[in-house]
Amino acid sequence: MLTLTINGQSRQVDAPDDMPLLWVLRDHLNLVGTKYGCGIAQCGVCTVHVGGKPVRSCQLAVGDVGTRAVVTIEGIGNTPNGAKVQQAWMEDTVPQCGYCQAGQIMSATALLDGNPHPDDSDIDAAMAGNLCRCGTYIRIRRAIKNAAAKSA
């Protein structure tokens, strides 16, 4: 039995150590907001926060999470920057099909956590690993700036 801290709650999971965190979230805990994309950490759609860092949950073995707190798209709205990003996302109507957006929001929030006022190149460097097949990149960049401009 593994004990994980997910979105502020302690959760018990009966899963093998080498199971990717993504499987545990989706199949064991029914937290299906986090999506499966490429399965090889190349698209960013499965991004969650682990110990405050954006991590591709398809490649992180659940046994390696340890005591680090996990935050998923279901819990990110309870954090100050997460709430601002989600608000900006709605104001700028960022999503098109929406499949990648959970990962985009997680990466964008992690960016603002470390850098409250990112410029274009900061956004590019932080968001380059999150692909969007609808091409909403321009709206993503605009929404991140919008979120950064919101007062806490």
Partner: protein, 476 residues
Amino acid sequence: MKKIIGIIGAGIFFVAFGFAGWTFLGRDPMSFAGGSTVALADYKGGDITGVPKELASADPVKRGEYLTHAADCQACHTAPGGAPYAGGFAFNMPFGTIYSTNITPDKQTGIGNYTDAQFLAAVHKGIRADGEKLYPAMPYTSYSLMTDDDALAIKAYLFTLAPVHAPAKENQLSWPFNQRALLALWDVVFNPDERFRPNIGQSQPWNRGAYLAEAMGHCGECHTPRNLAFALNNHRKFSGAVTAGWRAYNITGDKESGIGDWSDEDVYLYLSTGHANGHGGAAGPMGEAADDSLSYLVPDDVHALVAYLRSIPAQASDLPRTVTTPAPASYKEGVVAGFDPRGEKIFAGACASCHDWTGVSPVTGYATLTGVRAVNDPSATNVAQTVINGVNRKTAEGKIFMPAFGEGYSDDDIAAVANYVTARFGAKGAHLTGSDVANLRMQATQLPNSQLPKSQLPKSQLPKSQAPESQEAPHG
């Protein structure tokens, strides 16, 4: 005039004789230890050969299995994606390509008809059952140190495998390398064909480690440079060499370029698991050596290997001391001037999510770049190979995976990202070009990861809720 010709002739003779003597002296992998050696039968210091005491009462096949792992027959005698031990692995060398052969007990295409004597001749002398010479890609100059009992235990194990019908692939060698008979001359100089002799000035663990490293694991075949005749040059023992397009690093005690700064525990962990925190994880051929061979050894045997490795004289090579401090958290800091900005862009998109801008991976210690020898190798050989081939290891801790980018990125892209990674996280940035990368691809075209069809990659990693057979179409 005659006098001058005589002097020149004598000069040539002495140089040639001196060179021959020097190469000859370089053939004994354990001469560095000095002291005197005795025949195994006369050694009273304890068990050196065979299986460890844990397996002393095991049946012959189990013992043979342990020794087969210790001698790492599998890595070379298995083609990428092919049946284990059925051969077909390609060795690409400057003078052509050699394929490993089928050592399953198939009677037509394998070794099913080999007698004990024929098997020993192959292992110790490099002579096939039909009398033809084997190329020394088969490390018989190392295996010649192996006892008859151990070699025959390996045979007993191999003969329990399911026979696989797999005819040998034709070697593609240029003249004169395609003349197998010439190897008999090579053997006179470079294969003493003598069994292991314990060193009475050294401890039992040292001798056991020497037997495991030299007679079984044949570490030197990759880690020791070769001389002009492609024989191991033990004057530079374990100081590193390039084999099959990958760099086998300096594993002597040199503090800058070798492993002199590693703790015994780190060396132990690296050998037994293919990973030690702060030194990264093994990839490529060393990853295979860890997963197919070293990880099967009992702790005492790995400790013996450590004891032996620690006694190898330090040799400096052309590698800088590894940088052990992480890079800055912001991509804007720690930028090295003069590098193709493409490397940073590729790193941001494809690498940073697992390796982080600091180089310390939030995912697994296997993916941490800080302190890793390959990252601190200004040739970037193994960084480029890892990018091309990825990592696909099955360890006791689970699967260790990095995608193979070789088919998705151009030679110039891979050169740029390898240069960026070595500059950002290592001691000295590389200056690879696209044609360097093309050359590296050619040398290692047959590593298992590069052969993995792309369609096989994600399938095993699909969570049930989004498996392709379900109706939910994730990419709709």
